[in-house]
C-alpha cells in the first residue's frame, strides 16, 4: 500500500523551460510535505517544503504547490538548468510525539537537456 506516489518515473525537459514534478498521497494525517533531490550514490538533499496549512511555497527557482482536497502536490522548477538533472523524491510527514516520520515516493528522474 503506497501512501505516496510519484507516477512519472522519468521526465525530460529542455533547458530554460519549466519542469513540473507531481506527487499524490492518500493519508490525510500527513501534515507536512517535502521535496528532495538525489544524485546516484549520495544522500538526498532537501530542496523545499510546505505545511498543510499553505497551498504554495516559493524559494528561488523552486515552487511547491499543495492541493489538499485532491491530495496532490507538485514541484515547479523554472527555468530548468542542466544541473537540475537528478532524481527527485517527494516525502510526506506524519508526527509521532516529537519525531516526524517521512514516507517517500519512488522518485522521478529529471533530465534537463541542452
Amino acid at each position: 500500500d503506497q501512501q505516496v506516489k510519484q507516477n512519472s518515473p522519468s521526465l525530460s525537459v529542455q533547458e530554460g523551460r519549466i519542469s513540473i514534478l507531481n506527487c499524490d498521497y492518500t493519508n490525510s494525517m500527513f501534515d507536512y510535505f517535502l521535496w528532495y533531490k538525489k544524485y546516484p550514490a549520495e544522500g538526498p538533499t532537501f530542496l523545499i517544503s510546505i505545511s498543510s496549512i499553505k497551498d504554495k511555497n516559493e524559494d528561488g527557482r523552486f515552487t511547491v504547490f499543495l492541493n489538499k482536497s485532491a491530495k496532490h502536490l507538485s514541484l515547479h522548477i523554472v527555468p530548468s538548468q542542466p544541473g537540475d538533472s537528478a532524481v527527485y523524491f517527494c516525502a510526506a510527514s506524519e508526527r509521532y510525539g516529537t519525531a516526524s516520520k517521512l514516507t517517500f515516493g519512488t522518485g522521478t528522474r529529471l533530465q534537463v537537456t541542452l
Binding site: V4, Y32, L34, Y36, A41, E42, G43, P44, T45, F46, S49, F89, A91, S93, R95, Y96, G97, T98, A99, S100, K101, L102, T103, F104, G105, T106, G107
Partner: protein, 112 residues
C-alpha cells in the same frame, strides 16, 4: 553548522556475517535520528528512528537492529546478513519536533 557522517561508505559482506554501520551528527544536541534503506530502483524505506539515547522505534520487522549509545550516535546492526539486506543505507537527523530531515552520504552495502 550541523554535519552528519556515515561510515563506511561502501561495504561488501558475505551472507551470514555481522554488520555494523555507524552514523554521527555534529553541531547539534538531542537530535532525532533515523535509518532508511533504499533498495535498487525503489524509494526510501524508514527502518528505525530514535528520539533519545537508548530509545529505538522499529518500523519494519526484519533482520536488522538499531542502537543509540550516545546522543549523536546511531548504529545499525545485524547478527547475520541476508542477501536481501543489500541496499543503500541512509542516516538522517532532525531537530526535535521539526519535520525537515537532513541526510548523510549513505553506505552502499552488498551482501554476496
Amino acid at each position: 553548522s550541523q554535519t552528519i557522517h556515515q561510515w563506511p561508505a561502501t561495504l561488501v559482506q558475505p551472507v551470514g556475517s555481522p554488520l555494523s554501520l555507524e552514523c554521527t551528527v555534529e553541531g547539534t544536541s538531542n537530535p532525532n535520528l533515523y535509518w532508511y534503506r533504499q533498495a535498487a530502483g525503489r524509494g526510501l524505506q524508514l527502518l528505525f528512528y530514535s528520539v533519545g539515547i537508548g530509545q529505538i522505534s522499529s518500523e519494519v520487522p526484519q533482520n536488522l537492529s538499531a542502537s543509540r549509545p550516545q546522543d549523536r550516535q546511531f548504529i545499525l546492526s545485524s547478527k547475520k546478513l541476508l542477501l536481501s539486506d543489500s541496499g543503500f543505507y541512509l542516516c538522517a537527523w532532525t531537530k526535535e519536533s521539526t519535520d525537515t530531515q537532513y541526510f548523510g552520504p549513505g553506505t552502499r552495502l552488498t551482501v554476496l
